[in-house]
């Protein structure tokens, strides 16, 4: 490790009602890379992501953004650099896709400056990239689960931040749309060097799209590294209690899990 990453968790501990959920967890989210957090249900992935986005105050330890504790920085200035899409977001009834995506511009707006040219441009681009432009005037509840998910992603994209955290962005999406969305995130990451950290459940997709994988187990990092380092037979058994064979994906040359 050379220069520290812009987003860094330092000895994080989080407990809910005295039950420890994250235990003394230290991790870097490498700049300009795609990091995928994997782990079994309830192991603390969302809690880690929420802590990284200052939505969860740690009981001890801290999250550093650009070298300073994230909780000691102005919320608005953090929001200009870091966007998060939580696991199950909710919106008021009747809100249209266009209005939802515009909400993502909030950290760049003010009461007097609610709809600048930059806002219109960023919102238009996010709608275009996610393929939601044709649905811009539809209320959210008149969309399919997958379309709705893409509308939320568009909102996070419109926020136009250098760091993007996504909690299970592919839920509700069919396989082609999962691939499409992850490719979109990947191209975003490659073109604008955006740092991405996301939680994914599909370990094969994680292996294919991640530069860096963090495998959590019971609130601690079990292992981390490149897909080839993390996705091994031994690790899968230890992290997920999953007995499997690992083959090399014939197309992408990434490890591929075949459960036994």
């Amino acid at each position: 490790m050379n220069a520290p990453a812009r987003l860094h968790a330092k000895a994080l501990s989080v407990a809910f009602a005295k039950t420890p959920i994250l235990k003394d967890l230290t991790a870097d989210i490498p700049d300009g890379k795609i990091t995928v957090i994997v782990g079994p249900n309830a192991c603390g992935k969302s809690t880690l992501l929420r802590s990284l986005a200052r939505l969860q105050k740690p009981d001890s330890g801290e999250v550093l953004l650009d070298g300073k504790s994230i909780h000691k920085q102005a919320n608005r200035s953090v929001a200009q650099r870091l966007a998060i899409l939580p696991q199950s977001p909710s919106a008021p009834e009747g809100l249209t896709v266009q209005d939802l995506v515009t909400r993502g511009r909030t950290p760049h707006q003010s009461a007097l400056r609610q709809w600048s040219h930059q806002d219109a441009e960023a919102v238009g681009r996010a709608l275009e990239l996610t393929g939601m432009a044709p649905y811009a005037n539809r209320p959210l509840e008149a969309l399919s689960g997958g379309q709705r998910q893409r509308a939320w992603i568009a909102m996070a994209m419109a926020q136009d931040t250098e760091i993007l955290l996504l909690d299970e962005p592919t839920t509700y999406l069919d396989l082609p749309h999962q691939i499409e969305l992850l490719s979109l995130i990947q191209s975003f990451n490659q073109q604008s060097n955006q740092t991405v950290a996301m939680v994914l459940h599909d370990i094969n997709l994680a292996a294919r799209f991640a530069d860096h994988i963090i495998a959590l187990r019971a609130g601690a990092i079990f292992t981390k590294g490149s897909p080839a380092e993390v996705v091994t037979r031994n690790n899968m058994e230890q992290v997920f209690d999953l007995r499997c064979q690992i083959i090399s994906d014939p197309v992408h040359r990434t490890p591929h899990v075949i459960p036994e």
């Binding site: 929420r50 986005a53 200052r54 939505l55 919320n75 608005r76 200035s77 953090v78 929001a79 200009q80 966007a83 998060i84 939580p86 977001p89 909710s90 919106a91 008021p92 009834e93 009747g94 809100l95 249209t96 266009q98 209005d99 515009t102 909400r103 993502g104 909030t106 950290p107 707006q109 003010s110 009461a111 007097l112 400056r113 609610q114 709809w115 600048s116 040219h117 806002d119 219109a120 005037n137 209320p139 959210l140 926020q159």
Partner: protein, 338 residues
């Protein structure tokens, strides 16, 4: 469809539908106010009211119009706007249409406070109402608090405290002499009887003073409709925002209560009606203000139209608001939110 407004110091976008509905409502307020001016035990013709307003007409006519009806109408509009604004703010902030200040006891607190102020000092109605509403809010919120404000808890505890405060008000009435008690009993239902220019001045200067704050808070309030996590991830600070909103909402409720009495259901019904007219998921503060004004104007005019019995306006707002409440409760049940 939406329009963009871009000036060097201000940029906004608004939906065509909201503008259309808003214009219709303003037209309705104007027509309604003129009708309210003309109607009554001394009716004016289609044109005579205007000439009286402009200075013609007999002394009596001028007195009826300028000293009685006009201030009464203006007070009704101002108080209604305050009720509507305060209701829509609390409903949006709590993400729950039942969380309006009249349902969760804040208005009962305001009127109880006002009553105590009148009995103890003979005046200071606004101050009494403010303190009453504030103390009630603190009490309700601290009793309902359980890792946040669960909607059912808030509504049930608020309702309970509202009833207790209403009983306290009744008790206070029984301690005062018969004539004051009769006046106050009417005021407690909500009435605009005998409002003068002082009330107009109070409610409208209050609204005007609060207008910049309302404009400013509308922006974060519109984002608060998303979940807490999303709101703070967008860079807004939840606690100061909630505190500011509560303060403003209580000021507005107190202002309305001390000029029109605790008219039931106006704060509660205005927001949902406005949102039903423009269902775009936004707080609809302006819409709620205008609907609130219309509701109180209609109720007050209706109460003047039944001269022999002289029912207070609160009876009529309850008549309008009751069905709205039932409709909302049904919707909430259907969505499984209660």
């Amino acid at each position: 469809m939406s329009w963009s407004l871009r000036l060097p110091f201000l940029s906004l976008s608004f939906s065509a539908r909201a503008v259309a509905v808003g214009s219709c409502l303003l037209l309705l307020v104007t027509v309604g106010s003129v009708l309210a001016l003309r109607l009554g035990s001394y009716p004016f013709t289609e044109t005579s009211w205007l000439s009286v307003l402009l200075g013609a007409g007999s002394e009596i006519e001028r007195m009826i119009l300028m000293d009685h009806r006009l201030p009464r109408i203006l007070t009704a509009l101002g108080a209604g706007a305050c009720f509507g604004l305060s209701g829509a703010m609390f409903q949006t902030m709590m993400r729950n249409p039942l969380a309006s200040p009249d349902v969760i006891g804040f208005n009962a607190g305001a009127s109880c406070g006002a009553l105590i102020a009148i009995i103890l000092t003979g005046g200071n109605v606004l101050l009494g109402a403010l303190i009453g509403a504030l103390l009630t809010a603190i009490l309700v919120v601290s009793l309902a608090w359980k890792e946040g404000l669960p909607p059912q808890r808030l509504v049930l505890i608020g309702l309970g405290i509202g009833f207790a405060l209403a009983a306290l008000s009744d008790l206070l009435l029984s301690r005062t002499d018969a004539r004051t008690a009769a006046d106050m009993a009417e005021w407690l239902i909500g009435t605009l009887n005998a409002r003068d220019w002082q009330d107009v001045w109070l409610v409208w200067s209050g609204l005007l003073l609060l207008a910049p704050a309302l404009f400013w808070i509308h922006f974060p309030l519109a984002r608060l409709g998303l979940s807490d996590d999303l709101t703070s991830s967008l860079g807004l600070r939840l606690s100061p925002l909630r505190l500011g909103l509560t303060g403003l909402g209580i000021l507005l409720a107190a202002l309305a209560v001390c000029t029109a009495g605790p008219l039931p259901f106006v704060a509660f019904a205005a927001g949902p009606i406005a949102r039903a007219l423009v269902p775009n998921g936004k707080p609809a503060l302006l819409g709620a203000a205008v609907i609130g004004a219309l509701l109180v104007l209609a109720a007050d005019t209706a109460s003047r139209m039944v001269p022999s019995i002289q029912l207070p306006a609160g009876v009529f707002t309850a008549l309008i608001g009751g069905p709205v409440m039932i409709w909302l409760l049904m919707v909430q049940f259907r969505k499984g939110k209660l």
